[in-house]
Amino acid sequence: MVDLEKQYDVLVVGGGNAALCAAIAARRDGASVLVLEGAPKFYRGGNTRHTRNIRCAHDAATETLTGPYSEEELFDDLLRVTGGKTDEPLAKHMIRESKEVLVWLQEQGVRYQRSLGGTLTLGRTNAFFLGGGRAMLNALYDTAEELGIDILYDAPATAVTIENGMFLSATVTHESKPHQVRARTLVAAAGGFESNIEWLKEYWGDAAENFLIRGTPYNRGSVLKMLHNAGVQETGDPTQCHAVAIDARAPKYDGGIITRLDCVVFGVVVNKHAQRFYDEGEDIWPKRYAIWGRLVAQQPDQIAYIIFDASSLRLFMPSLFPPITAGSIRDLAGKLGLDADALEKTIGDFNAGVRPGTFNHADLDDCRTEGVTPPKTHWARRIEQAPFYAYPVRPGITFTYLGVRVNLESRMLMADGKPAANMFAAGEIMAGNVLTKGYAAGIGMMIGSVSGRIAGRGAAKNARN
């Protein structure tokens, strides 16, 4: 039974991967633990619900991973995506721990599967959750319950009392009533602020009104803000977020993975004035995947249209909504509400610039344009075979990078540089320490599990002293 009067050893705020790993690790080390999940039970687990895989280092192939992936290689991948901007000692520490976490998660009931269709490129580096992120969460919750961890749903933390870097209590709103919860230590694992449009507008202006949030509506960054206000050091660039181009018809929140579109390379992308604005053939997935969200965000009204023809229709993963279809470019423009002359000209100019080459969508091929601005440097093929197709796209925000600064123990650092007395952070709320920009599939879950486990152990130890 949840007893809000009692003083717990460890209070975990949040209910996703990071929170549950922290709670389980702390409990296994003997601490009494309360988990406050802001969302209702069905939506428990924030963005973790939408995940599919985790990227951890491992020395050898396993039943589910096709080959070894060394610490060095993972670190290099991290350096590559962040352009070298990472807290190196922390990153290396976490990567070392990631090796254990792969097995530790299995011990907590999480199951992996072999990567199958469409995802083979990640089969060596990433472990795929059997049944996806919600299955992973269900396993962690089951284990947490068996271990006697108290869990309260529909229970957002709405305030914290912190004195000189010392956490005293949190206010939780449950069944419309505020309660004071005391605990010896705090683990903050409440995700980023990606679903807080007002906050996003501080950096993106009104453009943020047109952003779609791919994951949970419950990650509003309230805990992050409370901690900053209480003197915890910030980390990460507030303007950075992981944004991809997703189907503009997706719901505002929680559309998840099925609204992604990865067909940019097969055609051209135009804005609402029917003009192209970026080299669609610049790079292979996943790099191009992660830049198109920002690119569309910079276009008028934050809308763009991927346009391709019949020759490409079956070349990419299906997605939730069907493409908009027309027999001619002119009709397509009509259906999209674009200027027909402008679109015909854009497509005509593009087609005229396409040079002959050998198309190979798995690699940087030699199909490119000449004399067109912007150029399309790979996979350029004429768009000429009816029917013609279009997907409207908008920026889809996956998560934000602004967070709280932590040390190797995942203990928060105060503005004056001193470690907090009894406060730890895990997951997205501290991911900005190592992931300053860019993204590599599976790294979010690695950071969450590893930092969660470190924070949980640290909090349990802290509570004993």
């Binding site: 069905f42 599919r52 599967q113 269709g117 469409g118 059997l130 269900n138 929680d254 079956r314 939730l320």
Partner: protein, 375 residues
């Protein structure tokens, strides 16, 4: 846009089929469940979901419920994804769609249990009448030794009656399997004996009733294997009873040995073991069904499911009662009731839940054939 307005790949005659198409589009864009069972890999091989494709996928689904508990889009999410229930509905409809003759199918779908029971009791009453008409004293007397049953009804009459209904059931089942197979097999190149054996193995072990290894979801979202065990008891119990009858028939015609047989003889041993399986299994399945999370069930079909399970249960209960009490005056009545139940079981077989085993098997064969193309 609301979930319900979303995309299907083509038009379908029923709501269940349209909903299944809508879900397959969603799942095909997601694929998180692809490690759970055969349905998802089979779905990924398709872009368009014709009625036959959906009937195939529905019969490939074992209803373990794993993909419901694991789905980030299950209700109350606006995408409203409930694969187990939707496929259960399509599966239920598919038994009717392919039933032979088609005219009878709807009848059983609506009131399966009632019809089965009425059939059983009418036949039992008819048999009782027959016994009494033939010789009232025979019914109340005590009969022992070889040929005891046939003092109530000549073997040939019994064989004609039951052979007739048996042949009818086989014919109707064959016809509906043929129609189903034509619809699902398409132009897949033949997989040969390998595909067939793979399917025998998958069906025999209920390979896909385990949620990809986590076990089947029952009354809540905590997986266990209970349904699998009860199903095994039912299925193998049924096979043993069939074996018992077959051996007895062979004894009768080729060895000239007449029933009832001593307790140690094959027909009795098979029948007893099978009968026990057919009590434990169906009772377990019925209990599991009532305890099961309602959101996983296709409530419109539960009448049919229940009818088949109840008829199996009655077959074994009456059969075992007959075995125990065959040397008492109750034998006559029990024999009539048992035979009535068996008769009704065979008569209703082609239109009810029994078909699921055959369709599932064919779906597994087709899946095995298609999988060969994957490697």
């Amino acid at each position: 846009m609301r979930a319900i307005d979303m995309h299907t790949t083509m038009a379908h005659p029923t709501r269940a089929l349209a909903e299944a198409d809508r879900l397959m589009v969603i799942c095909n864009s997601c694929r998180y469940c692809e490690g759970l069972c055969a349905v998802f890999p089979a779905m990924e091989r398709r872009n368009l979901f014709k009625d036959g494709d959906l009937n195939f996928l529905a019969n490939l689904c074992h209803g373990c419920g794993a993909c419901y508990a694991d789905c980030q889009f299950s209700p109350p999410h606006e995408f409203d994804v409930n694969v187990p229930r939707t496929l259960a509905r399509v599966r239920g409809e598919s038994y009717q769609t392919y039933a032979w003759p088609g005219a009878l199918s709807g009848l059983f779908a609506r009131n399966g249990l009632a019809i089965s029971l009425i059939a059983a009791f009418s036949v039992a009453a008819f048999l009782l009448g027959f016994f009494i008409w033939a010789d009232p004293s025979v019914l109340t007397g005590t009969h022992v030794g070889p040929g005891a049953f046939y003092r109530l009804m000549p073997h040939n009459v019994m064989a004609l009656l039951f052979g007739g209904v048996f042949v009818y059931a086989i014919l109707a089942l064959t016809m509906s399997m043929r129609a189903f197979w034509r619809d699902i097999a398409g132009n897949t190149p033949a997989g040969g004996i390998g595909a067939f054996l793979q399917a025998v193995k998958d069906a025999g072990s209920l390979r896909y009733l385990d949620g990809g290894g986590a076990g089947c979801m029952n009354d809540d979202d905590k997986p266990t294997d209970r349904r699998k065990h009860y199903h095994h008891a039912t299925f193998y119990g049924f096979l043993l009873c069939l074996a018992s009858t077959t051996v007895a028939t062979l004894y009768h015609y080729f060895l000239g040995r007449e029933a009832p047989y001593p307790w140690w003889d094959l027909p009795v041993v098979f029948g007893t073991l099978g009968g026990i399986g057919l009590i434990v299994g169906p009772v377990g399945l019925l209990v599991a069904k009532f305890k099961r999370a309602p959101e996983l069930l296709d409530e419109t079909k539960s009448g049919m499911d229940v009818a088949f399970i109840v008829m199996l249960l009655l077959t074994s209960v009456t059969g075992l009662a007959l075995l125990v009490l065959r040397a008492t005056p109750a034998m006559g009545v029990l024999l009539a009731v048992h035979l009535g139940v068996v008769f009704a079981l065979f008569l209703t077989m082609p239109y009810g839940k029994f078909v699921h085993g055959l369709f599932r098997f064919l779906a597994l064969v087709q899946h095995a054939r298609e999988s060969r193309g994957d490697h």
